[in-house]
Every structure is written in C-alpha cells, then in structure tokens.
C-alpha cells in the first residue's frame, strides 16, 4: 500500500509539477511547437536546474542536517514554480478568450483556428508560424482520417511493437538485477541523505563522517533521488533500482521521440505536410522500434551508452549519455532548422534577440548544460564539446559565424562549473 501512495506522490512531484512548470518556462520562440512532451521536457529540465542550485548551496553552505533544508526549500520552490506556471497559463488563456469574445460571434467560431496562428501571447500546443492549428488531439484526428491507407496500418503495428518492447523493458527493469559495484557509491549516497540527513559527508562504503567529497559534491543526481525518496516515502534503494527505471526509460524514449519527430517532421518545430501524417508516424514508429531493439541488443561491451541505459539507468553517467546527449542533439536539429528558415526566408520570420536567448536550442543548451553537471562532473566538458562541435559545423554549413559565437556563450556555465570543480577538487 505504501508503494501505491508513494507512486501517487511521485506522479505529483515527478510528472505533474514539472509539467505545470513547463507551461511558463517553455521558450516563447514562435517557431517552437509547444506540444505536451516539449512542455514537459522543459519543465523537467527547469526543475532540475533549480534543484542543482538549491542542493549545491545546501551542500556547501550548511554543514549539519543539510538534506532536510534542501528538501524543504526545493519542495516549496517546485510547488511555487508549478503554481506560477498554471497561473500564467490560465491568465493567458483568459486574456485570449476575452479578446476572442470581444471580436464577436463570427470570430468565436474560428477561435480554435486562430489559436493556431500563434500570436505569441499565450501558450498553445500548436505550430505558430505555420498558420495551422495543431494540438495533440487534432494531430491524432488527422492521423485517423488516413486510417484507410496502408501507412496507417503500418504506423499502428509499428507503434504497437514499440509499446510491447517498452513494456518488456520495463518489466525486465523491475524483475532483473544487474550487479554493478558503483551502486555501492551512488545508491548509498542517496540512502545516507535520507537516513542520516547529510549530503556527501559520510563514507558510503563503510560509514562514518568524513570531509566533504569534493569530487562528487557538484554532481548532485543522487541527492535528487534522495529528494524523491523523501517526498514519496519509498526507500531510496528501492526507488533508484525498481521505481526510477519505470520513469527514466519512457523519458529517454520520449526524448528520442522528440528527436525522431524532428527528423521525420511529426509534432516537430516544422512538420512536413508534404507527406501524409500516417507515413511520418510510421517512420517515427520504425525509428523508435529500432532504437529500443538496439537498447536491448547494443550491449556489445561494458562501455556502450545502451548498456549503461539498461543496467545503470539511475546512475548520473547513464542519465548523461541517454538524456543530456539526445537533448543536445534535439537542440542541434532545432537550431539548424531555425537558421535554415531565416536564410531561406521560408516563412519570412526574423529571429529576434529574445528568441535567440529563449528560443529553440540555445535555452535548451543552457538547461542541459546545468543538468549534465548534475549527472557527472565530466559531463559539462562533454556537453560543451558537443555543443561547440555542432555549432562550429552548423556555422560553416550555414555560413553564419554567429552560430559559433552563441555556441560558446551558452557554454559559459560549463566553464564556471569546470573552474569550480578544478579549484575545489
């Protein structure tokens, strides 16, 4: 029974609150379609960035019982951010509805259509800039219209296969133990925080107080699991090893779905309307099937990211390889699309300064950079390398040197993190 109440609490803290946060902290760039999964991904990342700030402050500035301060402060902030998200979203909808109401009955029948035109004054789950309404329900309904086509059947079968593969992976994640010596460090650090109330100040292997573990103190991912354990009441070890894969594996696939959507033009920043929706959905379905089969059979050595995903799902390095890296790849696709649009002038849309900062890609890079520092200390160096390499290439391909400049600018947090890490180590 405690697992049931724990699960409900986890859904609240892990799914509901980040989603509500995402309602306000999703970028406002016109070219970004704010579908449910994108809103959630941004909300989750923003929550993680806040957790990083709160927990690192508690680790370094509070010596005793610092974990309880961290839990209290972050829980309050998480709820406040979610309330702010809902309030801002509701306010925008209200203003929008009032405006529509004022336009008269004739325009009210067009409310749904005009909502898709993306005035930018409120959040819609649509592709502003394309002039077409698109929300998730309509996306499915347009798919259903094609149910007579062969592609539709293909899409249904491929997505069913993917669903089956995911369900199998989740079942195995719960019922299978993968022995890994590193758990004695990571899982026990989470457990120490919940049972002893202290963060990184006890020797995990044998117990007993020690100096602050500087090598790991900035990579606070185990403390995030400890936080979830504390608020849900589920033992930290059971949470990390049995419960978290049930969230993390679907979340990893959700990110790959976003990447696949960008590649094949489904629920992406610019959908490819030249092809039927069912055909594109089938493409993404096959992509996801291949990704999930590779996740199971990609264990060709102990070093592959696929192996880390399946056997060490809850460890920071596995989360870095399978969450941070795909998110950066998603940002790279967005940025290339955005600059392609500008150069080709397809929509006549110009990139403003604010959309450069909070627009597709760059803001995502900033959040992922912070997240990668939470995962593993060396993560920030890797994400910086990936961003700079991608931006260099994009700058050359798009003949736009500013891409490289922005790429370097978004890596400033990484440089600060590395400096702190080297100085404190």
């Amino acid at each position: 029974m405690s697992y049931v109440t724990g699960a409900i609490k986890l859904i609240f803290f892990l799914i509901a609150l980040p989603f509500c946060t995402g309602l306000v902290f999703v970028p406002r760039a016109k070219s970004l379609k704010r579908t449910f999964h994108i809103v959630y991904i941004y909300g989750w990342l923003f929550n993680m960035a806040v957790f990083f700030t709160v927990s690192v402050a508690c680790v370094f500035f509070i010596e005793q019982n610092n974990f309880m301060y961290c839990v209290t402060a972050y829980a309050i902030l998480q709820i406040l951010l979610a309330v702010a998200g809902v309030a801002v979203y509701a306010g925008r909808r209200l203003r929008h509805d009032t405006k529509e109401g004022g336009d008269g009955a004739a325009s009210s029948s067009k409310t749904k259509v005009s909502a898709g035109s993306g005035s930018g004054s409120h959040i819609e789950f649509n592709p502003p800039g394309t002039g077409k309404t698109f929300d998730v329900i309509q996306g499915f309904s347009s798919l259903l219209k094609e149910r007579g086509r062969r592609n539709f059947l293909e899409a249904v079968i491929l997505w069913a296969v993917f669903g089956g593969l995911l369900a199998f992976q989740l079942y195995k994640a719960v019922t299978t133990v993968f022995f890994d010596g590193d758990n004695i460090y990571y899982v026990v650090q989470s457990l120490i925080a919940t049972q002893q109330g202290t963060m990184y100040r006890e020797i995990p292997y044998i117990g007993g107080s020690t100096e602050l573990d500087m090598r790991h103190a900035l990579a606070v991912m185990p403390m995030w699991f400890a936080y979830l354990s504390e608020v849900s009441g589920i033992h930290a070890t059971a949470l990390c090893r049995t419960v978290m894969p049930l969230f993390l594996l679907p979340f990893v696939y959700l990110i790959w779905f976003a990447v696949g959507g960008e590649i094949y033009g489904v629920m992406s920043s610019h959908d490819d309307y030249s092809r039927p929706a069912a055909e594109r959905a089938a493409d993404v379905g096959l992509f996801m099937c291949a990704m999930s089969v590779l996740a199971i059979f990609g264990s060709v050595s102990i070093y592959t990211s696929e192996r880390f995903l399946m056997t060490r799902t809850w460890q920071g390095k596995a989360m870095f390889a399978n969450i941070a890296v795909p998110l950066i790849l998603l940002g790279v696709l967005w940025i290339n699309r955005e600059y392609e649009t500008v150069r080709n002038g397809r929509t006549g849309e110009r990139i403003s300064l604010s959309s450069l900062i909070f627009g597709n890609g760059w803001y995502l890079f900033l959040l992922v950079n912070i997240f990668s520092g939470m995962c593993t200390s060396m993560g920030v160096a890797f994400t910086a390398a990936l961003i700079c390499a991608s931006c260099l290439l994009s700058a050359v391909r798009k003949r736009n040197p500013m891409l490289m400049v922005y790429g370097i600018l978004v890596c400033i947090p990484n440089a600060l993190y590395m400096a702190a890490y080297i100085l404190l180590k």
Binding site: Y3, E154, I157, K172, V174, T176, V177, D180, G181, I184, V187, L191, I192, Q195, Q196, Y205, I206, G207, S209, T237, A238, R241, T242, W256, I263, Y264, A282, D283, L286, F287, A290, M291, V293, L294, A295, I296, F297, G298, S299, V300, S301, Y303, T304, E306, M310, P326, L329, V332, L333, N336, E340, M378, A381, F382, A385, L386, A389, S390, L393, R397
Partner: protein, 271 residues
Amino acid sequence: MSSILNYLQLNISTLINYAGTGFLLVLYALSYVYLFIAEKDDRKRTFFIWIPAVLWLAFMMPPVRWLFIKLIDSGDTYYRMLWLIPLSATISHAAVKLSSGYRLIGLVAVSAVIVLCGSSVYNAKAGDVNIVSAAQNPYHIPDEAIEVAELVKKTDEGHKIRAVMPEEMTFYVRQYDTDVYLAFGREMVMGFPAANGMYEVMTANPVDVWELIRKGRERLVSAYVFGRYQLLSDDPEEYGLIKLGETENYKVYYDPEELEYVRSINYFYFK
C-alpha cells in the same frame, strides 16, 4: 613524437574496447556510409554525417586525450567521448530510410540483424562474470543481505553498529541500511584500504577468530558475520561472542564487551 603515438595507440585500444564484439560499430559504419551517399537533406547530413565526423576526429586526436587527462580525468573514462556520437540513432535512421515503403519488412529485417548479431543486455557479463540475476525484492539486493542487516541491527539502541562481514555481503548491507557501519567495504576492492588488516584476516583460510576480534576491538567492531563456507580457527563463542542468529549461509554474532563500550560512548551520535 613518441607520446603522440602513445596517445594514438591508447585511443585505438579505447575504441577496440568500446567496440567489444564489434557488431555495433560495424553496423554504424555501414549506416554512416549509406547515409553519406543517400541522405540529401542538408540538416540531416549535418546531424548524421558532419557532426559525428568532427567528433570522431576529435576522439582520435592525441592532443584531445592529453587535454582530457590533464583537465578532466586521468582515469580510463575517455571512452565516454563516444557517447556523444548518436550510434543507435544513425543506425535507426538508416533503417528507416532503407525500408521506406516497406516498413514492416524493414522492421523484421533490422530486428533480425540486431538480434542475431547483437548481445542481449539480459545475458550481460562483465569479463567472465554473469552480472544478471532475478530480483528477490524491490531493493535488488539478496534477501539474505536484508536478513543479515536486520540481525546486526538487533543490538542497535540508537548508536551505530560497526560490523565485519565477508566481502560479498559488504556490497549489499549498506544499500539496505546505512546505520550499519562496516570494518571494511568496497574501498578494499578500489585499492585504498582503510581497515587495520581486518580484510586480510577475514579472507584468510582459516580465519583466525581471536586475531579478528582483537583487531575488531581496535576499530569499535561489535558485530561479526561469518559465512558458513568460511573455515574458522575456533568457535567464536569460545572468545565470548554471542550468536545473534543465523541465515541460510551466514552466522551473525555480537561482542558483548565491545557493545557495552560502544553504548557507553554513544558511538558517533544518537539518531
């Protein structure tokens, strides 16, 4: 010049180790070549061809490894650079592109290749050791480790209990309860031993029980766990240890004299 060659050699051996059976990299190479020829979309070419090309080049360059060792980690973690290259995504995209129009046949063909040539994570091994087993509980540790931890905790009156136990148990007990301290643990395996020779005594055959108790008292050890498979020099009860209980494969004792002392000094602090 020789150090450049050394770094290059190291990079190649890192790549070979990462490749393992080689299947994933071969499939990736084939997908890469196919996409290099067939992918015409500029954005996808940047994503699947040019960015990975830069990353491969960076991975192989000796100065990058030198910088990595100097600034980030001197350990053997350079292979993580390869995580930045979307191997699976490239293979999957090539599969989608190849099966255009025949996706279900494509799914069967691609799955067959991956299943037949790949290595299932559910039969994973580290070296020759099988690392996969069926879960006995939500903690994903052996039930017996929980039983041992509960037995050791019987003597807990708000203070910490430091226990000595066979090496295999040290991997699990603190994943269940961090109130149980250990005389030695994984730091022995990691190569920075903290214990005063207790590890050597505990792993000797037979175990010198009196020597273990003598050293244990120096380290405030009040609980002793012996595996039934361990050969003991004497019966622990001869030296005043009292049996707390038994599990299928382990016997748990406590040292009343040391326990009294630990309680009198409020070992570390009360919870």
